[in-house]
Symmetry: D2
Subunit: 493 residues, 4 copies
């Protein structure tokens, strides 16, 4: 490939996937970003955390988020392009994730609202009562600037990984509604018109079985605020999504699915975001490499553009290779999720395969995104650490990727679990076998088996190198498959 | 060792080095940081880039840097403790670098003023005319709050690595002074009373041979500003050192050493900082690990402190092991520099050995500092990306370390050069042989030889993995030597 | 007087009052401000609203206010000097208000914590149960850096003037404590260890008779937070006092005085602050004039210092004259309050006289402070509107003065009320008669009588010019009295 | 009038002036502001001073001003509407100043770029060589988004009033160009494509006679930057116009008019801005009153909207009356300037009349703008001092109005001068006689004559009250004339 393809997300997607779905507006979307969106995105980042106007000037609680007006047009543009509604029109997740890739190439944080809106629309479509569904889903699927946004709020102050202990919000039935009381501590897309919220049923056990999933509108039937935003968090990156602390005081909510299956619904919801995290990580990787490339082509040292210095050129080739592998791995999670997203408990083997690949991809792509962003700063030298040029922005944005949707630690342990309980590694090896060298596959499989045979504490302690190796093996194998499809070969002209 | 030692830089230094030099106030210095300095440092970081008051209210140029007053007391405290004057009292660099380690543990950026002051005092002592030396050196060695600061300004807008082409500042002789005209683009410790500055002699060739080194006071003889600060750079970290763009308009300066030997003096100066960069990197690594440890000891998930989870515990053990290796490698640069810093051109073999180790250490420790800071954020989960808790600060600070004093790319190529021209790798292998397993040493040596045998472009392209392997080998070998000396063994209680 | 006296608050106080109380450390306090405090104050203002750390990194609510550490030393310095404890040592309010004058000259906002602490200590001393008093008052009167701070929180979101309707916080008796639930909207000195708080007794009427005053500690008996800070307000000035929104959830509090006399206690508390507001306004006036003077003495135009231009010189003379009148009026409120502060309902005539003078002084001095600050900016020309030089700070600080403790509108109407109900104007005319020209007094009295004779709506509509005239007349008359005492005569040398 | 007219600048203009010029898009322009501009303006103010990117990432000087992209669309909208080009199409200044009034109602600072562009286009049209004029003027008069901007830079660090001594920039002839060297200290609309600049001819006397006026393009013929921006000033308001310090290093410029008439051309230029300052002041007054009105209509206290409280209602009526007077005075400067702007030295009596009215209007309207903004804050009570609600913004914006284009001090002295030298007061009294009560006119005239009869120092010292009285008299008289024309009568419904 011509390295110039790295500077365009659409071009890179075409290169990797061959054709893109018909009828989706990739080029138009990218053109808008280049013409207008990039500058808006840079100015939103520069301005920092938006203000939260909690009360209007008359003392009425309003919880208005004060972004510059251009933010809202940037945000609305992605909804119009179809980051959410296309799923329900096409019956496939592919357009959403592709548009997500483009979004994340230009603004990592902005991909979050679309993701959590999708993660709201899906359980609403799958699990809500018919009345609730018919009332709210069409609002989310509007194709104009009035589409409602969603949000997915699970984490509380006591922590994010250990949901069984960490969720202290209590839900009590009250007629058609349930009534929720509690707090959410990392509430992405605070201000959304709808949120899906994890809560513990009053009197239920203090573990994951006590959790249910609810749909929570921003306003009560009487027009009053149904949740309040205590404050917006001052994050170092992803300023295009307002992340808040949310308080629920007798908030009205609708139960989604069966009460006692809540934990499954919660995990389904997180899966959608986890895939988006991988896609966003790869897009950010591409962006960081593209920025580095552009700089290296124009910066001269020792008489020639620095991109022509052999060591730097070598580094580019290696990064691009990692990018392609990371893309192949992330893309596989999209393909698999697209097959299984309509499943409900109990799940198929394909679903468990998806889970393992999703953990591997989340782990590996986020890591690579951070390293690519760090490297892009180094390529820029002293310019890289100045706020002025925004190169450092990609590292700030990237650092959220290994943390959101579960840290590396969490991915490894959850990956271990699905291997132990569901033999997902065997499913994976079968899945990859057609494209893998058999010796590599056998060696990797042997490492995994050896790990799983250890006593629990030791198994956990020693899991990381094996998990990493499994991720690399999967990425490289899937990349090989993609190349067969699309005939990609990348090299520096 | 007890992991608690990781929380104190003095304790860790004692653990690694056995005894620390007598008569140096390590504990007192650390106690001050814990009682007062930490909070000051956090508030300076929080406040962001200081203001530059270019003119007073009457329109007179003053270039005053508006830090909060506590900054100045924090800064002065390190000079009083002896970050500079102890070199000239003890005849050894060891106390300076040890105090630098403590400083960098608490405030990475603040170590910079001490480093560049040391890098000013040394060439002033070695190369200035006796009158210049006797006039200015005592001002830098004052033990009270009036000690003058130094600064070392080489880089210009055209770039930092390629000094031969990049330095466009012109120096012309004018009686006792030279007169300099030009700009410096990344001028650390802007506002210093003295700076050593690279400039090209008028009419000299446009390569490194045309450069000389000068001593530039802040004020002219008549009291007017001798350089002006165009602006302070808005860096993402190290806000405790003001980095500016500096303009020289007919600035008065004194030649240091012989005019045509300038490039050697410049490189000597950078060596001092490069060693400090390694020391600071290791200190920051320790700090990041200490923060992660403190959090993991107190944060509970799944019924126990997260530090007791096997996978996280394993990660701690690996990080501490890397920390010890990085320390051993960095410390070796201090020891070697302490032997050779008084040399002048032409240099001994020992000096070339030092150069290679310094490149390896700069490369490896900065990389490890970034990775440790990134990991500490991940250990903190969502808290890690909030400005509020300052965990993210260590990554912001760390990102300057691979870039200041030459990027990884630069270290590798300069390391290659000293191996090719001076056979420094052979000196290194001889140096390490007593502590290394002979098979490891031979394998590493073979890799290096194979690399050096390649044609230049290929040699450069393939250098990174070999250079990394050489750094790891050196770090592990030197760690083994330290352990023999200090009997260190670290494990989690 | 020598205009140089305008540059020192102590000198100006001596000039106006003759001798200052023995044993109070005015000069030392001023010296500290000049040497250290000024720079700290400027940096606190520059940094903007402090951060509120609501939760520690483990998710525990802490509501910590993140000022730079120097803030706390600046704050503590005033408590040590005796802004609060001297009242209880000397039995006179004079030292407190004099130290307040000095404080406000250097940092208007910082005078607020001392004022509200005093306004907490006084009702605690006068109205608390003996056990509550003996437990808490000594903590407020410590002479070292551990003195507890107070705060006075009345206003809620529905508004500040109309307390009868605006206070919605509910208090219910619960054993030794009362339990409070509600919110306070402009809570100055948020974070104070003690606050006096207005609340409505459960079931009491929705007017001022339903209000009581309570003492609210920051921590409950069990160590938990007794109130929470929802956020700190982003004010344009007075950044040296954290103003927050405070939430009371089952907060423990002690009743002060008799439940049904609450409104009287509330007004007593506000009186103390109102006097401080006048004192602070005059101090800020002096500061603004001093800054303008310093600039005008050193700035040259048309060949001479601008202070020597006749028109500017004339403006200085007029400002100084206004300053002296404003001081005399404000000072009279101190003298009168010092006579009556120990009264409890029902109050003496002297108390009602005090009330009228306090309304006049609050109205007039705050207005003059704003105008002086505005004028000082104009004297500085273009420099006046730059954040860099801090001249504009005095206007930002000043603008709070007409608003805090009741807007001009409020002062006028409350002044009208005390004249109508208590004939306070007659008391005032009698009080001023010895120093006033009898014709002026008669004319002013006639205007007041004519106003009071109007129907209510018309009386209110036409009150402002009469009230202003009464303020000017009082200020000029009291200034004449002071001059007799201190022999002051100010003119430009 | 219905008070609601106060909320719309177009409605208020119609009320005051009867019909507005045909074919100008007042309603459309206002509609855009209400729909989009207001939010953009608020976000630009919130974001603070824009960043100046001095160098691109490759180290090339670019001096790019980093406003959010919406700023540029807001700015361009006003040029499209015709703030500049309509003068040259209609031959009248009226449309420009009316559009300026609308602009300033919404964003005081934004009116500045249009004003200085107009103040550039006029001398370019009147005084430039035909080639220069035909090359540059059409670029300024484009009706699309590519119109060039202008700027007028006179003031240097030594001060603004005393141009004779303060301008140290030196101009030397160099063929078709002149070459300028020096600095401009308050350079409004830094970044403009064209600037008119005052400079001293090399060798010319150090007084106003040595000054000439030049046209300075942003780029040299060879495409390089012709001036550099040293920094943008951090003003407390008017953030919609970038005000910088500008450096001229061998900058190419074109002489405007005759070299020795420079001071006249400078004063002509300043006159255009001075009128705009008055128009902007009145617009800001209206805005502040409108904000206060809206609040007072919706805020309730003591059982009714606060606007219905008699005292506040009275304050509104007085403010509106002052507004109408201020408008009438400011509008008279527009009418007079529209008659005389094409004059060149030597000027007519009408021109001198204009000058006096312009000084009176600048003085009086700016003062009233500040007082109205201050009062609007007081009406809002505690909300008024919070950055969150932007009420305080109008005071920050207003404070520049008495300072820009000459402080009150300057207006008074320059007003005195034109009365003494040109008997402009007599012209004024004749001008106003038809609308004034003859007794008022005679009294005012007598005061002026008495003042002018004093020795100079005393005359200056005593000038302010007379000048104020003259302004009030003129405002009231001109208001009476306007009422006759438009039949305005304003009262609260």
């Amino acid at each position: 490939m011509d390295y110039e393809s790295l500077k365009s997300p659409t071009s890179f997607l075409k290169l990797m996937l061959g054709d893109l779905p018909d009828g989706v507006v990739f080029r138009e979307y990218e053109t808008w970003w280049e013409a207008e969106g990039k500058e808006i995105s840079a100015s939103v980042d520069r301005e920092g955390t938006p203000w939260l106007r909690m009360y209007d000037v008359f003392g009425t609680r309003v919880d208005e988020i004060l972004y510059p007006p251009a933010y809202w047009s940037m945000l609305r543009n992605g909804y119009r392009a179809g980051t959410v509604w296309r799923l329900f029109e096409c019956g496939s997740l592919v357009p959403s994730y592709l548009l997500g890739y483009l979004t994340a190439f230009y603004d990592t944080g902005l991909y979050c609202p679309y993701t959590v809106s999708l993660s709201t629309a899906i359980p609403l479509a799958k699990y809500a009562d018919v009345q609730v569904r018919s009332r709210y889903l069409p609002l989310m699927l509007r194709k104009d600037d009035t589409a409602w946004q969603g949000a997915t709020w699970m984490t509380e102050a006591a922590g994010g990984s250990d949901l069984g202990a960490g969720v202290e919000t209590i839900a009590e039935p009250a007629g058609v509604h349930w009534v929720l009381n509690g707090e959410k501590y990392f509430a992405s897309n605070a201000g959304a018109e709808l949120a899906v919220v994890a809560a513990r049923r009053a009197g239920a056990p203090a573990n994951v079985r006590g959790l249910s999933l609810f749909l929570l509108p921003r306003y009560r039937e009487d027009g009053s605020l149904n949740y309040s935003i205590r404050r917006l968090k001052d994050k170092i990156g992803t300023r295009s999504v307002p992340t808040g602390e949310v308080e629920l005081h007798d908030s009205q909510a609708y139960l989604l699915g069966k009460a006692e299956q809540g934990i499954y619904l919660i995990l389904e919801t997180l899966n959608i975001s986890r895939v988006a995290n991988s896609i966003g990580s790869v897009a950010l990787m591409q962006r960081a490499i593209a920025e580095a490339l552009d700089f290296a082509q124009h910066r001269t040292a020792f008489g020639k553009p620095v991109v022509e210095h052999p060591l730097l050129r070598q580094q580019f080739e290696e990064r691009v290779c990692l990018l392609q592998g990371a893309f192949a791995l992330a893309w596989e999670t999209v393909r698999l999720l697209d097959e299984v997203w309509q499943e409900t408990p109990h799940y198929s083997e394909r679903y468990h395969l998806f889970r393992l690949v999703a953990h591997l991809a989340k782990y590996w792509t986020a890591e690579q995104a951070v390293l690519a962003a760090k490297w892009a700063m180094e390529v820029h030298g002293g310019m890289g650490v100045l706020a002025e040029y925004g190169v450092e922005r990609w590292l700030r944005e990237a650092m959220i990727l290994p943390i959101w949707e579960g840290t590396p630690h969490r991915q490894i342990l959850d990956g271990l679990e699905v291997m132990q309980r569901k033999q997902a590694h065997e499913l994976l090896f079968r899945h990859l076998a057609p494209y893998a060298a058999s010796q590599d596959l056998e060696e990797t499989a042997a490492q995994v088996e050896a790990l799983l045979a250890l006593p629990q504490d030791e198994r956990e302690a020693r899991a990381e190198p094996v998990f990493r190796q499994l991720a690399i093996f999967s990425a490289e194998t899937l990349q090989r498959r993609l190349e067969k499809v699309a005939g990609v070969e990348v090299h520096l002209e």
